[in-house]
Amino acid sequence: MSDSPSKGGRYRLFGFPRWGSLAPQLVLEELEVHHDMVWMTREAIKAPTYRAINPLGYVPALQLPDGRVIIESSAMVQHLTNAHPGRLAPPVGSGDDAIYIQWLTFMNAEVYATINCYEHFLDGASETKAAQARAEAKVTELFGILDDVLASGGPWLLGEHYSAADPYLFMLTQWHRPSKEALYARYPRIAALCAAVKARPKLQAALQANGV
């Protein structure tokens, strides 16, 4: 087990099964970093005790060993690979690391943000079908960019080297509509990558806890 960056404290990840906490949880497991997984409920998120930890009330949130709390799942993933270097990302500052950051940003700012729009595009009323249809088509297009990258230099997003960007992609596919199976049928390289992530021995307990 590797030491936490500041001794004494532990990471605490606040999340829901299958939500945005999935990727940071898989990365914590893979890095074998001491942490506590705190499963939230809708009531617990609204409780004052959680607001004291994360005033924004967002989930996931990651409490660092020094007590600071960060939001944004891809920031958690990148911070964890920066703080525990050598295994799940290229050396910080290298050209390969630039590509690693690029994929995390693309998956968060483009794919994840569009998936969010399944629900939040319109102002809450009934005419959401057309917007959902557009969001689903756009998400499928964006996954196509990732499948093309895997076609020209897989099997992982960084080519021969597994990185924390791969469990992040695995997480995003779980949310696909109409189903992840439909996505895998369309994009065989993404399907192969996700099957390989799912088979990683260190991830089995966390995958089971998330029901995936």
Binding site: A75, H79, Q102
Partner: protein
Amino acid sequence: MYKLFGRPGSGSVAPQMLLEELGVPYELTWVDPTVAQGAEYRRLNPTGKVPALVLPDGEAMFESAAMVVHLTDSHPGALAPKPGTAAHAKYLQWMFFLSATLYETYLRFYYADRYSSAGQDDAARIKAQAGSDLQMAFGILEDGLHPYLLGKEISAADLYLFMLSTWYHPSADELYRRYPRLSTLAKTLAQRPAVAKVMAANV
């Protein structure tokens, strides 16, 4: 040498500010939207959008926030905490919040008709929702400024926020009237020589 591909006033502004701030040599190429959609440019950025950045080793990358983080990671010291520290984790949080939440919301605001297969029929409501999402995001950022996003130390996340603030409709001044800390930040940053130079080149 770095090669930045962009368009005046677009997402290329932030990486350009970083390149100027860091004092590293770079070449800037303005890319017309029709050129950006072509196969040659898509080898640099498969989404067919600006910006794209070619690194000194020849590798091409896209996503403006990723460029900014890579530039501070590869030129440590001036505009970001040390990678792996808790302070750097906060820096990453703000960079991802800005790119995944604020930037994305602007796209919905300005290109609302692209967000529904019903096109213009849904556009007004998508734009209204995006407008209220913008206020929520800027409210969170205003609360986070003390006076910078990382507290007492300036970072590249402030420059990224500054770029996004200039996109506000009807004007950045309107935004600054609502959010006084953001207004102070913008005034401070606009006085930096590197920032002033880039803003003047992006009109």
